[in-house]
């Protein structure tokens, strides 16, 4: 069912997220941001941080949304879970979507809840037919309840399931084909997962269904080693973006053009100017790609 009436936005800024860099919004940066009004494309928030009834978080988010486009990023829906989706939680996401009119909404190819336990991590899913069917059913439900398209983010993984029968890329492609959802391509996750699975990140990206991608993520990872001494990268979001990830990002942008690009920095959060500097670094790559595009056209 569709209403003929256009929703009347309560915000000064249009909802659409531009093909520019954005930053993850942190409460401690809000005053600085509202005062300095940095030239940045958008802000992204973790939906679960705004599920309280009222108070300062909503006051801050309203003020930010009034001057910047917003991307709503869920981290707890457990789309890859074996249990049915939590209807209450989905309802809360739909409510935030209605209230803040985000230009983008995304969630993860991961699970976090099983039966009555919420594990508070993005846990990996086996890539097999049964999981594929379930994930697609869950995405159908999300898109139906929210009344919009969602973007599904590729995961960072530390293990693989021995029972997997489908490649991650084929799994993602089939999900977009069956559900019509878009993808959020986290370039750092690609680097982390491919390193951990001893695959080539460049080869993975060359095969990625870019026509489905509505947003990119960039974040920092922590290097470690596993029991066998092999490199083990941890998707820590606790530092600047790694040079190797910047190089992959540059490649993606040069090949496919500009996309909304989020800098994720969730732990050991730096002062706002340092986070903004990361976004500016992404902006430079986006501008170079656009200049090259213009030259190619003229």
């Amino acid at each position: 069912m569709r209403s003929d009436k256009q929703p009347v936005s309560a915000f000064c800024t249009p909802a659409a997220v531009p093909r520019r860099p954005g930053a993850g919004l942190k409460a401690e940066h809000v005053a600085d941001i509202l005062q300095s009004r940095p030239d940045i494309g958008f802000f992204e928030v973790h939906a679960e941080n705004y599920m309280g009834a009222g108070g300062r978080p909503h006051q801050q988010l309203t003020a930010i949304r009034d001057v910047y486009p917003l991307s709503l990023h869920g981290v707890g829906l457990s789309i890859g879970g074996e249990s049915p989706l939590d209807k209450d939680h989905l309802g809360r996401l739909a409510e935030l979507n209605k209230r803040y009119e985000p230009g983008l909404f995304s969630e993860h190819l991961a699970w976090s809840t099983h039966e009555t336990t919420y594990y508070n991590d993005l846990l990996p899913v086996p890539y097999d037919q049964a999981t594929l069917t379930r994930v697609c059913d869950h995405i159908d439900e999300v898109q139906h309840v929210m009344g919009r398209q969602m973007l599904l983010e590729n995961p960072s993984t530390y293990i693989a399931y021995a029972q997997s029968t489908i490649s991650e890329l084929d799994f993602l492609k089939e999900i977009t084909r069956r559900t019509g959802c878009g993808l959020l391509l986290d370039v750092n996750n690609v680097y982390v997962s491919c390193t951990n699975q001893e695959q080539s990140p460049a080869a993975y990206l060359a095969e990625f269904p870019m026509q489905c991608v509505g947003e990119l993520h960039l974040g920092g990872h922590a290097p470690d080693i596993d029991e066998a001494g092999r490199p083990l990268l941890i998707d820590a979001h606790d530092r600047a973006v790694d040079d190797a990830v910047w190089a992959l990002y540059k490649n993606v942008i040069e090949m496919h053009g500009a996309l909304p690009t989020l800098i994720e920095w969730d732990n050991d959060v730096p002062a706002w100017p340092i986070l903004l500097r990361e976004a500016d670094a992404a902006q430079e790559i986006l501008i170079c790609a656009q200049d090259a595009d213009l030259k190619a056209v003229s």
């Binding site: 599920m51 108070g55 707890g76 249990s83 099983h114 919420y118 991590d121 021995a162």
Partner: protein, 263 residues
């Protein structure tokens, strides 16, 4: 066609149990690039789950954490998590049982005030996230005939709470959470029941006279002004309704009133 061998199938239930209980070992079906399980790899998930929940508890209970020290708090948080796994992805709602867990934790018997400090911090968080609401405008009281005042019942502002305590909980929180004052200056023989309010966006904590605390507890459980005043007088014969009411009103603790009891 019979399969020659079957691959170990790893369910979410087994994956989850192995996350919480390391004694179960690394699940066979969760493998590294060589096809074999690797404990370091699985431990990344274990660590993420436990550390992030410990952090969530630490953010909700910073005074308890400061009082016990990082290391002790982390161990205690692990014990709590093992007993109380979160069931909801909204972590601002996780950890309500922490106060009673502290009270029942035998090694902490010598620190009986911890329970009330935790109750104050939980109430603070609820206030912070409570529904926005206008505070009651005392001018509305002027239209009530003085004879009817005793029957007036108030509605609590959604961000208001009273935490009763025999301990100096506000001093303990002020020093340990807000780094305001010295631990050595805290007199553990002082009782500090508190009123928590959030008239707009900032949470405020006010120490209450014991009779005012009794009054507040009474009106918030539905008593009329007259009934609540009687309760307060039992606590302190010097109680005056006018002072107490103006304390609650000026702090923005009330949301509205119901003028008369049903006849």
């Amino acid at each position: 066609m019979a399969q020659v061998f079957s691959l170990p199938r790893l369910s979410a239930a087994d994956f989850g149990d192995a996350l919480i209980n390391p004694d179960l070992g690394t699940p066979e079906g969760a493998v590294g690039p060589d096809g074999f399980p690797d404990v370091q790899r699985f431990n990344v998930y274990r660590n993420n789950v436990i550390v992030s929940l410990c952090e969530a508890l630490g953010e909700t209970y910073p005074s308890v954490k400061a009082l016990l020290g990082e290391e002790y708090f982390a161990a205690l948080a692990r014990a709590f998590i093992a007993e109380h796994r979160p069931s909801n992805p909204v972590l601002i709602w996780y950890g309500e049982e922490f106060a009673s867990f502290l009270a029942a934790f035998p090694p902490l018997k010598a620190y009986p005030y911890l329970e009330d400090v935790a109750r104050l911090e939980w109430a603070w968080l609820q206030s912070y996230h409570a529904k926005d609401c206008e505070v009651f405008d005392p001018a509305a009281l002027a239209s009530i005939p003085p004879a009817d005042l005793g029957g007036v019942r108030f509605r609590r502002h959604p961000a208001t709470a009273i935490v009763a305590s025999e301990w100096p909980i506000w001093d303990l929180v002020r020093v340990n959470r807000f780094k305001d004052g010295e631990q050595s200056q805290i007199d553990l023989s002082v009782a500090q029941p508190v009123l928590i309010v959030r008239p707009e966006f900032d949470v405020d904590v006010r120490i209450l006279e014991p009779s005012h605390a009794a009054f507040g507890v009474a009106i918030f459980s539905g008593a009329s002004l007259g009934e609540a005043a009687e309760t307060a007088l039992e606590v302190d014969s010097g109680f005056t309704l006018a002072d107490c009411l103006s304390n609650f009103l000026s702090n923005g603790a009330l949301a509205g009133l119901q003028i008369k009891e049903p006849a």
